[in-house]
Subunit: 364 residues, 2 copies
């Protein structure tokens, strides 16, 4: 088992990564002071629940915990206020009190909606992340939780740090290959924004990661979480530095919105967005190696680098202007300046971005 | 204008109390660093909006702010996730960004739902309280915001402190007399839990307060807010001391729930609840003066001291067991031990409370 700590003063918490960790859940919960006197609620979805809900619940019950469960539909639609209301109903019926914890067992959607339930139930109860996707190595660290509004994604939420993250890599074996690849896109992002040596490792170990080799997976997830934890520790509430985590996301979110959620997976959209950011770096006069390495890495991971050409450029530009990263009339872009380093550029011209969006449709 | 500060480290904020303060809104907002570059959203209700929305919006616009407004139905039903979703739609349409503020213009319901919108919109934007009821001198201070769930009151919420509280006592002149009296119940509570000299002042000045004499009103609101601010400063997240603010609320909330929200105003329910707490004090052997003074004060303010006899005792006992103050199987009661002093008693027997509920139906 590997362990690292997200340093946030009195809100610091550990991330445990290992094969078969679900079986140790009760012990790890108890170490973090989660009381067995108050009931727990596990929130999961229809894709993950059938595989891992009973093993997790059984492990917790064996350790003396009282466990209730709530299963939401798999998919982005479950990030809604209506689902939040359903989760709270289950929490009330199960008798959750202020000392209880809500446990997210699943990927980013479950983490987000269960996390917002934990942030708001009785004005905040404890929260545990049990990620079951590779993508969630990103979303499960950092405390950003939210639901969607019909008019905007992730617009209603909170910063609510978990008590612990319990990452059982055995749960990744049931992931569809397309989701494995998409999850690795966030791992590539973590290398590109922070750590050139991790980029070099990813360049050499792509095949091992795609094959879900346990050792490679644990190392990659550990290093990816480490980058995320560093950035979050330095800027918990996204005032400044934390924006670098959005590499590839400005274009990526717009692509997801315009394509309709589901056509492109999140990781696929940000893969294309990272190519866009590398092209922006080229235009701004940075080392061309940035573009070469970014593209090679993403191709190693069999991720898309070309934008679906049928998507309308105007619609993408409009979607970008609705992004939360739009502050007082200006858009913020994250641009690579070297391998393992990015800058927050607040003065990129819209016309330049439009050119790049069009180029992305032509990308080989 | 009177001013006091709620001391919460970097989240400290001022409360301004004065006659005609709405006109100074832009200046006071600017002093607190609320940017005029980002739009504001005023949330109000159908009772308050027709009187004070335009004066407040005009004052802010005159100071260079861009102002949008959202009006909810007056009443407890507006504390819902559905109304939250509507407020967020208006916020998005008005272009609110992370530097924007949401302003609650109204009583406790508006403060709660607008405050939760501010706590959760884009994971938290600035919040301003502009209370227009006497009751809100309690709810507007302390940062507790929430909406209701069909199964429980105030169960989905946050701790989100305002940037400032702007209390224009001129807005109280349109309050129905019954709401004036009910609001004064919280003022009595603040005296009883903390400040014997304030209790003595209330005893002598009840008629001036009921007549809304500006000087008496400003003094009473200032002293009431001061007690609340002291307690909140000492215990922002309701871990311990803050529970004393619940004097009269354990029985009071149960009465509201059983009578159906609306039959009893909140202040009326806690008036009866404070009589209940004073009776509990008698049974526990405290100075009988506590009961005498509590009852005399509440009668001065023409508040009810007797429980509607048709309410079912079993239903009231069940409602109490659903209270958020129920922790790990035990109920917490706030019991007066002297005038201006209370204790948090965690071991009151249910049977004793049942006796008192029955006695409250007989109260003269």
């Amino acid at each position: 088992m590997k362990q690292l700590t997200v340093e946030l003063g009195e809100r610091s918490y550990p991330i445990y990564i290992g094969d078969g960790l679900l079986a140790q859940a009760a012990e790890l919960f108890a170490q973090r002071g989660i009381s067995a006197k108050s009931p727990l609620l596990i929130v999961t979805d229809t894709a993950v629940g059938p595989h891992y809900l009973e093993p997790l619940a059984a492990a917790l019950r064996a350790g003396g915990y009282t466990v209730a469960a709530h299963t939401v539909e798999s998919g982005e639609k479950s990030k809604s206020l209506a689902v939040l209301q359903d989760i709270v109903a289950t929490a009330l019926e199960a008798g959750l009190d202020r000392k209880s914890a809500i446990v997210a067992l699943g990927g980013g959607v479950v983490g987000d909606v269960a996390g917002f339930a934990a942030a708001s139930y009785m004005r905040g109860v404890k929260f545990v992340q049990v990620p079951t996707t590779i993508l969630a190595h990103d979303s499960a660290v950092g405390g950003k939780v939210a639901v969607n509004h019909p008019l905007a994604k992730n617009i209603i939420g909170a910063f609510h740090q978990p008590e612990l993250v319990l990452y059982d890599t055995a749960t990744l074996r049931t992931l569809p290959p397309r989701e494995v690849r998409a999850g690795l896109a966030e791992m590539v992002k973590h290398g590109l924004i922070w750590d050139a040596s991790f980029v070099a490792w990813l360049d050499e170990n792509a095949q091992r990661l795609l094959a879900l080799e346990p050792e490679a997976l644990q190392y990659g997830l550990f290093e990816g979480c480490k980058v995320k934890a560093h950035v979050v520790s330095a800027d918990e509430r996204e005032d400044d530095l934390r924006a670098i985590l959005n590499l590839g996301h400005t274009i990526g979110h717009a692509l997801e919105a315009v394509a309709g959620y589901g056509e492109l997976l999140h990781g696929e959209a940000i893969s294309i967005g990272m190519i866009g950011a590398a092209k922006l770096a080229l235009r701004l006069g940075c080392d061309p190696e940035i573009y070469t390495v970014t593209k090679r890495l993403l191709q190693h991971f069999e991720l898309p680098t070309r934008m679906p050409p049928h998507l309308d450029t105007d619609a993408i530009m409009t979607a970008m202007s609705h992004d939360k990263k739009f502050k007082e009339g200006r858009m913020v872009y994250i641009v690579p300046t070297a391998i393992g380093r990015v800058e927050i550029n607040k003065s990129v011209q819209a016309e330049l971005v439009r050119d790049i969006v069009n180029e992305l449709k032509e990308e080989a």
